[in-house]
Every structure is written in C-alpha cells, then in structure tokens.
C-alpha cells in the first residue's frame, strides 16, 4: 500500500507523528509523586519501559501538591501487523433512519419494543441516552424518535430485576443495557447476572440481549452470552438496524446477504 507516495508495510505499522513511520506519539499520564525534576525523570523512565525512545516530557504540572500530571512525546519502538488484526462485527447492513423504519414496516409489520437501562450502581446514562432519547446524538435521532420503535429508557442505577420485570411486562423484543463504570470489572458481574436472570425467567429466546459501553465489544458480548456488544462511536441507527435485521432474521422473514 502507498501513502503519500511512500510504501507502507501493513505488517509493520507504527504511529504517524510528523512523517510516515516515524513512530512519534503523544501521551499523558499522572504519577502519585510531588512535582519536580525527580518526578519528570520518573515519568521518562516509565515511558521508556513502555517502549518509547527519545522520551521528552513537554509539559508537567503539580496536582494538589502530591500528584504530577505530564504530557510526554516519544518514539514508539513497537509495530503491529495490521493484516493479522481481526475484530468481531455483527453481520448487518447499515441503514438510515428512514430505511430502518421502512424495513420494520415491511418485514416485521409491527412496532419493535425496546427496554433500556444503566444497571447496577452505574449512574452514567450518557451512552444509553445517546441511543434511546428523542434528541439523539451526533446528528442522529434516538430510537424514541423512530415511529416503528417503542422505547422505554428506565434511566440509571436500575436493578437487573427491575429491567427484566419491565421487559416481561411490556413484551420487549430487545433489552439494551449500558455499562459505563467498569472499575474492577464490575460491569462483568452486572452483565453476567442480567444474562442469568433473563435465562432463569425463560425469556432468553424471546429477546435480543444487547450490551453497550466504552469497554464493550462483540467479543465480550459473545463471551457473556449476549447477542451484540456496541462500543464507543456507536450511533442510534447502528443499534436500530441491528435490532430490526436480527429480529427479522429470527422471524424467518429476512436473510442477510452472504458475506465474503
């Protein structure tokens, strides 16, 4: 592959700083030590251990007298084989707001019911609100605005019991769970418990179980027994298209195009 007239070896990809393949990166970090020459040297030493050459601390600032914040430049000595990278994606065709609604009207013939929540101790609704709420996110409407979706956003800190109870009450086609707080991997326990509850209540085959959040992907979804896992950058139409297409596929009224 050629980039800007230079041959790029995709099996040995390194960061781009000023010129192709120079390896320069900028990063920031905080160390729990007082600001000073020792702190700067410590930050450099740590970055060298991380695989950076030619490390330069270009900015540092004291935080509360006991911590120091740094911005660092350095040359990354490592490379990755881009040709060997494989990422799990759901097999779905991207559709717009209008296409999704038309698809549901044509293939499913009734409104799709979705319940969504931030579960457990998680109060960070920014992700689930972006997908569900009327006003949407990044120029796209949320599922509440879709005439062919009925969306219930239960909000934050919803116990798994309440989420599953609501899904049963309204006969949900899909359960969307958002997990933003992932300290000590608390999201794994929460997500595991929800999947077990859905199974124990006998509705696993009746709903699409979908997770979302900054540390969520389809690999984790499969590992925990979910149907899909949407990560950062997901738009409402991604989730809407997946739900519509997967539901239609399960109803036997639609089949995805074969992938190469």
């Amino acid at each position: 592959m050629t980039v800007s007239g230079v041959n790029l070896d995709l099996t040995r990809v390194r960061p781009y700083g000023d010129t192709l393949d120079d390896g320069w990166v900028q990063m920031s970090l905080t160390l729990p030590v007082p600001s000073g020459p020792e702190a700067t040297r410590a930050a450099e030493a740590l970055c060298e251990k991380m695989g950076l050459d030619d490390v330069r601390v270009v900015y540092s600032r004291d935080i509360a007298g006991t911590f120091t914040f740094f911005v660092v430049y350095g040359k990354c000595v490592h490379s990755v084989d881009f040709t060997a990278i494989k990422v799990s994606k759901v097999n779905m065709r991207h559709m717009t707001f209008d296409e999704i609604n038309e698809f549901i009207a044509t293939c499913i013939g009734r409104k799709i019911v979705v319940v969504a929540a931030c579960t457990g101790s998680d109060a960070h609704t920014v992700g689930i609100d972006a997908i569900i709420n009327m006003k949407g996110y990044a120029g796209e409407y949320g599922l509440e605005r879709y005439p062919w979706f009925v969306a219930y956003n239960l909000g934050s800190q919803v116990p798994n019991e309440a989420l599953v109870a609501k899904a049963i009450e309204v006969g949900a086609d899909a359960i969307l769970v958002s997990q933003v707080v992932t300290q000590k991997n608390v999201h794994i326990d929460n997500l595991t418990n929800l999947a077990e509850l859905v199974e124990a209540e006998g509705i696993r085959d009746k709903v699409l179980l979908i997770m979302g959040g900054p540390r969520i992907d389809h690999e984790l979804a499969v590992e925990l027994g979910y149907d899909a896992g949407f990560g950062p950058g997901t738009l409402p139409s991604h989730v809407g298209a997946f739900i519509a297409q997967e539901l239609a596929r399960r109803m036997g009224v639609w089949a995805p195009a074969e992938k190469a």
């Binding site: 494989k86 799990s88 994606k89 759901v90 097999n91 116990p159 019991e161 309440a162 599953v164 109870a165 609501k166 049963i168 009450e169 991997n185 794994i188 326990d189 595991t192 418990n193 999947a195 077990e196 509850l197 199974e199 124990a200 209540e201 006998g202 509705i203 696993r204 085959d205 540390r215 992907d217 389809h218 690999e219 984790l220 979804a221 499969v222 590992e223 925990l224 027994g225 979910y226 149907d227 899909a228 896992g229 596929r249």
Partner: protein, 435 residues
C-alpha cells in the same frame, strides 16, 4: 495426570456422560479444568463433544488482555462453535452440521477435528443453543459431552443440560485465601440446595410449570396455583398471598433477592420452603439468602445440580499467587465431601475411597446413573445410556406424567418421589445441513 488414585475424569465419568465446567468468575481455571477432563476422556477412548456457554480457547482475554489457555481436542472430537471462531482453529477441522442458532460471531455449527489440535469454542449463547448443540453432537456420535462455562455464568450446569457439574474457583475471585474460600462456600451451598421431595399425596401440579407460575402448597398437601407476569415485578403481591398454612412455594421462574426480602418483611420465612426448578434459577445476593436461611426459611430444587468436583487455581490474572496446597485444603474442607482438585499441581482432596460408588453428594439421595470407577480405563457402563439427561419432553408429555405420577413413589423415569417438572425450556432441537 493419572496417579494411583482417582483423577477428575474418573469422578466426572462416575456421574454420567456429560459435564458442565462452570467458574466462580473469569480466570478461575475453567479451561484448564476442561482440558484435564477432555484429556482423560480421550485417553479412555471415549468419543467426545465440546460446546461452550460463552467463548473459550481464545488467545487473549477480552477483558484483561492476558493470554489464555487453548482448548485442545483429540482427533475425531466434535465441537460446537461460531463460524468466525472456527476460522481461527489451529487444527484441520470440517463442518458437520448446523444448529438454528446465531451469535455476533456467526452461525453456531458443529465441527469435527480431523487431527488433534487447538480450537476456539464459543457462540452458544443461551441454554437453548447449548441444549441443541449437545443434542446434535450426541446424535453425531459423541458419547461424552462437556460444556465450558462462560465467565461467571452458571446456566450451563442446569440438570436439563448435563448430569454432572464441576466448579472452578481460584485466586482471581478475592484478594485473600479466606475470601476465595468464603465466596466459594456460598456458591456451593446455593448450587447444591437440596432436592425437593414432593409431599406424598400432594396434588402439587396438575399442569406443567411455566415460567409465570407460582404454586402454593399447604400443610395438608392441597395446592393453589397463580399466574403472574413475573415474580420480579410482583414480589410483594406474591409474598402477601403466603397465608399461614402455606409451607412451600414453588416458582416457575427466577428466585431473586426482591422476593426473599418481601417474604422476610412479612415475617413468613420461618418454616417456609421456596422451591425452584434447579439451582441456576437462584439469583440472589449472598446477604439476602443468609438472612432468609437465618430466619428459618429453606430453599430447594426440583432438579438438583450434581456438583461432582471443585477445582482450584492459585494464580490470579494480576500475578498474585496463593499457596496451591493451602488453597486446595481450605476449599476442600469447606465443600466436603465434594472432591477438590488442583489439576495443574496434580493434587486432590476428599476423594471417595476406592470401591465406593462415586462421590457422596450431600443433596442427592441414591440417584441412579452412578457406577463404580476403580480407576478403570474402560468406558464406564453409564455411557451406554447417555440420553437420560437430555429428555426433550414436551409440555404435553409432562402433563401426562404429572397427572399420572405427581407425588407417587417410584414412578416414572424421574425417580422416586420426584416431580415431573420440565427441567428447562427445551423443545425438540432442530437442525439443518451446512449450507
């Protein structure tokens, strides 16, 4: 692995021809435990099938990004995995049949290992998918089937799926050995709640138990059934219906903390037995369960989980290492008489004496399907009738069985005094060729 005594494979085979390996959490050693069992089964020349309730054998953990052990299969082994995971196999494999299930990683297919090698197994993301995969591999010739658990999920040990369960625990669970032992003990107590014996003469069930049903059984063995959308939403309402003469309440769906708290609030725990289909339906925080037990309540299951072994992993993903023998001792003492193994260190505790008919189970009174082991390398006799745990009884059949035999001693293939409650949500598995 095979020393002079029994190994984990002997213990598993003595319980039947299927096992689920479930973990207390991620990184507790499920895959290594599964590997030890599969190696033992292969050594005995038994055709094996492997399914996963989540995903296993991958190179790198999806959460911690740490390397993970692979699943190694012998030549001829069957395994159920998603299409895109099959593409990563480092052994020559061929697709054999397809299930009706799909995950984010493609369709769930059954493959055969043409030569021994390492594979990734995953994509069976529901009890129905695991059930269908197991049934399909049985028909294709697997005489022993193992299901690898998913992270900390336990649904795969439902008696509707497997005859035996092995629980993997380890240092990943808690910072200290005492913490690991305490949490493991709690999980074992929950997993092995006693089998419920339907009182003689009780007309407990005149129709199959659906997930929406709640049955109240009074002291005089009479019963009343109500249907609720979900006990999750109606915990207080259901608890209010627990009149003084009700001794047992049978739940078709999940048992959660909300229901137990509602019972405790009304002071109705003492003398009350809450019965679930099987222990995978118990989804209660330890504190709620402890309070219920302390208040004199009991929990029982229509179909008990048969926990045949616990394995310990002394290493945590963050690099902590507990003393292997001390951890095994601590766990073994707490879960006795269930055998405990550290399959990497090759040490075991609580092994039944040679000649005993398998491990003594605290929750099971003389169930069938147990055979002598004696460390015999030949395929055990139990393998001759592998289908017992895989009944695909429809609700209609269950109605007939219940009508004829509820409470009757020694009736039906469900054993003496056991109720014919559908074990799971099974329906006759469908399958198709590989397109």
């Amino acid at each position: 692995m095979r020393g002079p005594g029994l190994d984990i494979t002997d213990i598993v085979l003595s319980a039947g021809s299927s096992v689920a390996v479930v973990g207390m959490a991620k990184n507790c050693g499920k895959t290594v435990t599964l590997g030890a069992i599969l190696e033992g089964v292969a050594t005995r020349g038994i055709p094996v099938g492997v399914a996963s309730a989540g995903r296993d054998g991958e190179d790198v953990d999806a959460v911690t990004m740490l390397p993970k052990p692979p699943i190694w299969l012998p030549e001829g082994a069957l395994f159920a995995t998603a299409e895109r995971l099959a593409a990563k196999a480092r052994a020559p494999i061929e697709p054999v049949a397809a299930t009706r299930h799909t995950s984010a990683l493609g369709r769930l297919l059954v493959y055969r290992a043409i030569a021994p090698g390492k594979v990734e197994v995953g994509g069976g993301n529901s009890a129905a998918a695991a059930h269908d995969a197991v049934a399909l591999m049985r028909r294709l010739g697997a005489r022993f089937v193992a299901i690898d658990g998913a992270a900390g999920r336990k649904f795969s040990c439902a008696p509707s799926l497997v005859e035996a369960t092995v629980l993997a625990t380890g240092a990943a669970l808690a910072a200290t050995m005492e913490g690991v032992v305490r949490r493991t003990t709690r999980a074992v107590r929950t997993l092995t709640v006693p089998e419920w014996m339907c009182p003689a003469g009780a007309e407990a069930l005149s129709a199959p138990l659906s997930h929406r049903d709640v049955v109240f059984i009074r002291g005089d063995a009479s019963s009343r059934r109500i249907v609720v959308p979900s006990v999750l939403a109606r915990a207080d309402e259901v608890a209010r219906a627990l009149t003084e003469d009700v001794e047992t309440v049978l739940l078709g769906g999940a048992l959660t903390g909300g229901f137990l708290r509602a019972i405790l609030k009304r002071g109705r725990a003492s003398g009350l037995t809450v019965v679930v289909r099987d222990a995978t339906r118990i989804l209660v925080e330890p504190g709620d369960l402890d309070r219920f037990w302390s208040a004199g309540g009991q929990v029982a299951a229509v179909h008990p989980v048969r926990l045949v072994a616990v394995t310990t992993n002394p290493t945590a993903p963050d690099g902590r290492l507990l003393d292997p023998a001390a951890l095994l001792d601590g766990v073994a003492h707490a879960v006795a008489p269930v055998p405990a193994f550290d399959v990497v260190a090759g040490i075991a505790r609580n092994l039944p004496a040679a000649g005993e008919a398998g491990p003594a189970m605290p929750n099971r009174s003389g169930a069938g399907g147990r055979i002598g082991v004696h460390g015999a390398p030949a395929a055990p006799a139990a393998l001759a009738a592998p289908a017992a745990a895989f009944d695909t009884a429809t609700d209609t059949a269950i109605v007939a069985a219940v009508a004829a035999g509820a409470g009757r001693k020694g009736a039906s293939d469900h054993g003496p005094g056991r109720l014919a409650v559908p074990r799971g949500d099974e329906e006759p598995p469908r399958e198709g060729g590989v397109a």
